[in-house]
Symmetry: C2
Subunit: 246 residues, 2 copies
């Protein structure tokens, strides 16, 4: 049983952003792929959980990058299980630049398991393979703090979730949430700054056909912003981004 799991990738031209860097959406998708790969190896992957009537749900993700991941470069996402209690499992990551084998960022994720019938949290502490995999490796970034909630006025942006935004179970993909968050700021913001840290809290699922309302606000401190997505009468997602001048 391996306590760490690696996912190697190259930032391709077709899947990078206007600054020739890995986007928040693609990095978040790779983080989920890496977590899924390790969970599958440990015998607690999605299919296994669903056969027990429970589904993994990503509750929070926080990523801090010392420098952006650049097109054409090779990277490794290495993950491990950091903790486990009845309600939550913490899974952490290091992003390694494979050209110099140096860490270029870290990520923290929090996962819950939802009982698919009752829609209440499932008991994680009985998942023995997960408990046995717990490892204490360095993840020198702060855990996610409380994220401020922007107001959404009449001028809030709107987007209606369509087929391309949906994964299994008619839920909106993490990629789409991340795209809406990214789209809160104009292109010039990203040309002048890179995103040093992002925190996303997934509060409530959004569904196919719902119309989301989303927007952002500046927070105290240089380059710090909060973003919010509402959908179907629920607060759906909160995010906090730290922009650093290039």
């Amino acid at each position: 049983m391996e306590r760490t799991y690696d996912y190697d990738f190259i930032v391709t031209a077709a899947d990078c952003n206007a600054q020739r860097e890995l986007s928040i959406s693609t990095l978040a998708t790779y983080i989920i792929d890496t977590a899924t790969g390790h969970a599958n190896e440990l015998g607690v992957g999605f299919d296994r959980m669903i056969s027990m009537g429970i589904s993994w749900v990503l509750s929070r993700v926080s990523v801090e990058l010392s420098r952006p991941a650049r097109v054409g470069r090779r990277y490794r996402l290495r993950t491990w299980v950091a903790s486990l209690n009845r309600l939550f499992s913490e899974r952490n990551f290091v992003l390694i630049d494979l050209d110099d084998n140096e860490p270029t960022g870290y990520a923290r994720t929090i996962w819950m398991a939802i009982n698919m019938e009752t829609r209440t949290p499932g008991d994680l502490s009985s998942l023995q393979p997960l408990a046995e995999a717990i490892t204490d490796l360095p993840c020198p970034i702060a855990p996610q703090g409380k994220i401020a909630m922007p107001e959404l006025g009449d001028d809030a942006k709107e987007y209606t979730f369509a087929v391309s935004d949906i994964d299994v179970n008619r839920h909106v993909t993490t990629r789409r949430y991340c795209d809406l968050i990214t789209d809160c700021w104009p292109l010039e913001m990203y040309e002048k700054n890179h995103v040093k840290r992002f925190d996303i809290a997934f509060k409530h699922e959004a569904h196919y056909g719902e119309t989301a309302r989303y927007g952002s606000m500046a927070e105290p401190g240089e380059g710090i912003y909060a973003a919010r997505i509402d959908s179907g009468d629920h607060l759906c997602t909160l995010a906090r981004l730290v922009f650093t001048p290039r």
Copy 2:
């Protein structure tokens, strides 16, 4: 010099669609990644071309699948250069299911090179590495035919291109064009049918901040539809999809 180039991938849970299959958008992105990989190996990749003042542009893509690519399965996209003339290069693909090593689909693509200053087609026939790579391998699907043009009425869907839709040069990504095409039909269409064949013709680039109008119509024949995207006063994209009942 290798006349074929392989790109292996797994259809991951985080990046498949509501039917647990590889989406048109992701398959098109992988096709571009594979083409890019081979072009780089041959010494005619994006960076090399840009240093000569020309940029590769995907003009057409056609994909035909005997069955959809499914979540959790491993696949190989194998590509080769099929032909080259002054204006166009044809690059073809086979999609191989790595669990049984059988072809599960084929693709045909047409590429042009645009002179970045004059915005006119560049002369491809002088690209010796490309000429030397030409290979005659089977690609038993029909080339792209003429695609019918749907009318876009006042009720056409609209979408304004934002940061998450943009790649280098402020162009809209192929992924986003494919998402808009996919979104022309409701989820029920994909639950009842799979896409057996899709043809996309990229007519004119769309840009950050433009508002696209898009829609579809049924064509003669069972399950055949055409889709259209207009942006910035131009016909941007035409597509033809063949839906087959599951």
